[in-house]
Symmetry: C2
Subunit: 117 residues, 2 copies
């Protein structure tokens, strides 16, 4: 199984990216958008700024890390179900955050198998 | 600040990749290898197989996801300190796991700033 993991830097985010619950809800909305199953979540708040939250999915994870002092949210989404489109999950997060800046995307491919080929 | 996030698929892993504590210790050894500061950890065990653990760092995170049925460990390391080399952190994890298979690496660059340029 060759899976696409997607990432984004979302620039121009507002104060909500300092709010653990907002971020967890945004990650869960990403899961909902693709029909993924949430099995847990965890958040860490940095001093003086910043939050990292992870929502664990049956299909892997949505990880969000923020630099509120830069208005920046980093997104990391891995969905180990070829029927689920991580790009749609990212769209759901962008729709929650409503940034005023750019969304810069990246992707890598990961081979889930006993060997890489 | 332009940061390199690194990833790896480590193939040919043994049964230890089903052990939450082993994985958390491996991630912490990665932090130690680069002088990063651990501020928390969290693990989720899947049924019937697989574990996802995250070690939160002052500098961001080490995330490990396993498919024991494939002998596969996925690594995701982000270190937001330009003095710390994520490749050394990955080496520390490989040294813990002692895989019999390939280590396939990826990297992306993420701009930690108010705008991407």
């Amino acid at each position: 199984m060759k899976m696409k993991q997607i990432f984004a830097e979302i620039y121009g985010c507002g104060d909500l990216i300092e709010d653990n619950n907002f971020l967890i809800d945004a990650a869960k909305s990403a899961a909902t958008a693709v029909g993924a199953t949430v099995i847990g979540d965890h958040a860490v708040h940095y001093e003086p700024f910043g939050v990292t939250i992870i929502v664990f999915l049956a299909e892997s994870h949505v990880l969000l890390t923020t630099w509120p002092e830069n208005g920046l949210l980093l997104v990391d989404i891995l969905l180990c179900n070829p029927a689920q489109d991580a790009a749609l999950a990212l769209d759901a997060i962008v729709n929650c955050v409503k940034p005023t800046g750019e969304v810069v995307k990246h992707e890598i491919f990961r081979v889930i198998a006993p060997t890489p080929s």
